[in-house]
Symmetry: D2
Subunit: 334 residues, 4 copies
């Protein structure tokens, strides 16, 4: 049984803690967060210990692994401390919003041979797992073009956006990781357009709400990403990969298969699942299972801190492309 501590008691940390508690091959030892009410309620509900000092927890001998679900600006310190104590780590994305800090953290982890997995939850979504499996099985031959549609149901609150690092680093970063995961080859060139079509006042915080990106790999594979902060019809997450022998497509999820034909319309289906907590519930569960399985079996973790670094770098390149109107070469010598 792997003994796990969950750091954080917020929205994502609660999901991770519940998944650890329910996992047959892991024990939830404690949840830790300086926010006492949150951590007390969560530990009571899940029947585990409560702690208020995240850093102190990392020195305990009865803990094998930690899940970091605290605010982004605490990720690097907790990550490096956990690695120093020999703990395996599942860390929420992003590593940090600053590429220089993210790079030195990645290098530090790599020097010490730390076992760190980045929480790119979409790689663990059942649709994405099947898509990756179909690609590996050669169902469409060599990949040529990838199209990723990624739209949130609505604009996040302004105070969240102010500290988000901007749409490309906060939202599109997931899609940059998906692009790398599916292209099977690193993007070497980025081009991007960004607009404020939902809320023009985002100019005040130098952010955008609608983004279109192009990526190109060395051998010429292409990827298009389109992001928008608002889709009134629900959380829109679709992926298409076309290759030499065919195309693979994944679609949105709905709460049930019910269709309705009336005099006004036919085939009106249920609305899409609301947002990522609903849409990626299985992904979070699978992510944790793969983390635990890899640790128990000694196999490599499926995502690395370097994956986090590269996704952030792609976001920075896209932002530079938006500002300069030029395609930007990607630098993998980080």
């Amino acid at each position: 049984m792997l003994r796990i501590a969950v750091l954080g008691a917020g929205r994502i940390a609660k999901i991770h803690a519940a998944n650890v508690a329910a996992h047959p091959n892991a024990t939830l030892v404690l949840v830790a967060d300086p926010w006492r009410e949150g951590v007390d309620a969560l530990s009571t509900q899940l029947g585990c210990e409560a702690a208020y000092d995240c850093a102190a927890v990392l020195t305990r001998k009865d803990i094998d692994a930690v899940v970091i679900g605290t605010p982004t600006d605490t990720h690097i310190d907790l990550l490096l401390a956990a690695v120093a104590e020999g703990k395996a780590v599942l860390c929420e994305k992003p590593i940090d919003l600053d590429i220089a800090k993210a790079r030195s953290a990645a290098q530090a982890v790599e020097r010490q041979g730390g076992k760190v997995m980045l929480g790119f939850n979409r790689r663990f979504d059942p649709d994405m797992l099947r898509l990756r499996q179909a690609l590996d099985a050669g169902q469409i031959g060599a990949v040529r073009q990838v199209i990723i549609t990624s739209r949130d149901p609505g604009l996040a609150p302004r105070d969240y956006l102010e500290h988000s690092g901007g749409i490309l680093r906060d939202m599109t970063i997931h899609d940059f990781d998906t692009a790398r995961h599916l292209l099977g080859e690193e993007p070497v060139e980025v081009s991007a357009f960004a607009s404020r079509l939902v809320d023009p006042s985002l100019e005040q915080i130098d952010d955008y709400d609608s983004v279109m990106v192009l990526l190109r790999t060395a051998s010429g594979k292409q990827c298009h990403i389109n992001c928008c902060r608002q889709a009134v019809y629900g959380y829109d997450q679709r992926v298409e990969v076309s290759g030499a022998n065919g195309v693979l497509l994944t679609d949105n999820h709905r709460p049930s298969t019910l269709r309705h034909w009336s005099a006004e319309h036919t085939e009106a289906l249920e609305p899409l699942q609301h947002f990522f907590l609903e849409r990626y519930a299985d992904a979070y569960r699978n992510e944790l299972t793969q983390f635990i399985d890899a640790l128990n079996s000694g196999r490599a973790l499926p995502t690395s801190v370097r994956d986090g670094l590269y996704a952030l770098h792609l976001a920075d390149c896209a932002l530079e492309s938006v500002k300069t109107g030029r395609s930007v070469a990607v630098n993998y010598g980080l």
Copy 2:
């Protein structure tokens, strides 16, 4: 916290026991079955007590409710004993394969005011819940025609079939309950055809593998059920309800949304979910939740032992119709 005992350690009982163990408002006190290896393994896995005498368990004071998941021919005795001890009961369908025994059991439960819920799991399927909700909301107005498609992925083993009571009582009985649930009015006339198109040797046990049934209610609402013991493309479970103002349709479930377009075909989707354990996993969970919620809140249980009686009677009428080539009037004075 509702204290629950699960009777049985077989396929369905294991699902119920795991759902009880994971439920926030219930405690799994014990699992009981004369099959010692089964019950020992299950109780160890779920961290509860093991018992080997189902009847003895019913007298314990630390048990509020029991889930009966034992073989069909033990249902009535355990059910009546549990009711006599004042326990609430969630009993797997069918009550019994013999309509006379089922009727007197139903009457006994009703006389004693027993709290008994029949495990018609499909009523608790997310698709069916949404469909029922849409009907209740008047989305298609008055119901006119119901069409139920119900096909198993493959023929069950011969020794199972020999004790199953025949396709109409074993398999179509679910669809008879669905028909009653959706028509909103009792069927008063039944007509049916049955054939042996999958395995002609079923004649040796006087059973069939392919069935088509028509039902009619007093006001003229109509329902068609088609059942087959073998669908090579997977477990096929679809429902369509047409009404004065439109039609509602539910579709099969698949493990992911992945589609594949190749030179041979387009839109090849994943195979359907294999069989009922996969397809109705959520239904079993919802079923238990509604049982627990009803008991905790004092509300009526959502299915009754009489529901089980009527579904069995419809199966018997359909069988009589197959044998006589006449439509058969249904008798609700049972």
Copy 3:
């Protein structure tokens, strides 16, 4: 070039006349109808001769074939006269509403070796042609169950209904022909329920608006037909054939593929095509092409007057089943 006369100037006759005029291997010589305004307008539009006496037209030497699109009660007389003059005939269904008259007409045609094709337009629908082709290619192995959904967009006017012969002979008769076409074996037993759910006043003319039928062939293949005179969501025409190795399904047609996702719903499609003139426009064109091709090549016509007779007999059996509550044996010794 096949020289064709079209008898009739009403709704269906106009479709046939335009298709003949546009066909590269046929010439539209004339259209004939006692209704002078109608025939004058139609002949002017299509650039052909106008005639006012249908019977007189049949003796002309410059006509090889006739399309009969006149009222049902004139079909037999024109049909037999045309056959007597050696003309090939494409006759709209039904032959007649009276089974005895239809039978003697069929027998007369067969005795004289007349070339008569019945206008069961659905057999020539692109979907049905592909379905039949897939069955012939063995894509699903031996057929087991057929399900036919057939709903009109709205109730026809009362004076039409009064002379229609009733829903089973007027509307379901198409589906009886489809059933025979797809089962690949004659139905030998019929069972049916009929109700008045759209318009209870249909009792005044001894008719129904909602019908469910079961058919069984000698080897046990089964077919379900459901018909309704009103589907507010549009003309609903779907067919499903399940066999030993899979299932084939056809779906409704829509004017375009446009889908709309909004805050209220997702996947709202265009309404279904309005009614049979739109839905089966291609079928009428294909029907005529197969008629002309068969005549030009000397191959057998794809539907016979006996097909019309058997479909009518099935309708009569279904009606008897509705009245008696018994399944009715079909008689193929007509």
Copy 4:
């Protein structure tokens, strides 16, 4: 009756000639092409006059309008001569492959007030007509992002490609017109990547087979186009428009609605329609009808020679972007 001459007897000209011949409000006077066998066969089939000198035809008084379906490098001369003679013109795209020639032709037509419609057939596709209508009706509010997928079934022959002007001017030019048609605002910035993923030897003729483009309008609306010369699964033509209040999507067409569920897969549909002659047959017919209707009614033609000029300019900008790796500003002062 509008009297029309069709110039050309090749693949597209034959479609136009047949559509003119079948049109109730137009007469096909002649087809003209120096290729005698082609024009003789076509004129015989359609029952019209044959001519061998396209230019000579333009001076005839019995001709009101001409359809130009000759090779691209003859378009401008015939176009300007026809305008000089006061004929209305429906001209196949592109005007010319050279932007300077196209610009002076457009300016000449505009100076003379010539009635010239460019054959951007996709605008007349039933799906596109409905999409445009839904946008005009405000079904999704203000447009934000457009995504156009445009893939041919297979690489055209090398000698065609050598004179095609390259993938962007030959194939993507259709999508540039679609983008302009749907954005409702001119693109002002273009960014593009192009690769040789189907056939690396295209480098010999300085062409590409796989293209991804981004467009941006002055107000920030965005459009993505992806093109590929080979899609083994068939001709892939999809459009998606997302707006403030929802999204509209059009899908590919198939010859029938037949679906097949087998042990290997479910929902395998028919292959997509083969290529543009099948997919856009209705579009060509609608295009001609709108040309004839506009001329007969005196309304403006739905596409102009300037539309052709702008689409070509966008293709040139995209090509420059591919070569320079920069986004390129669009110049509408042409």
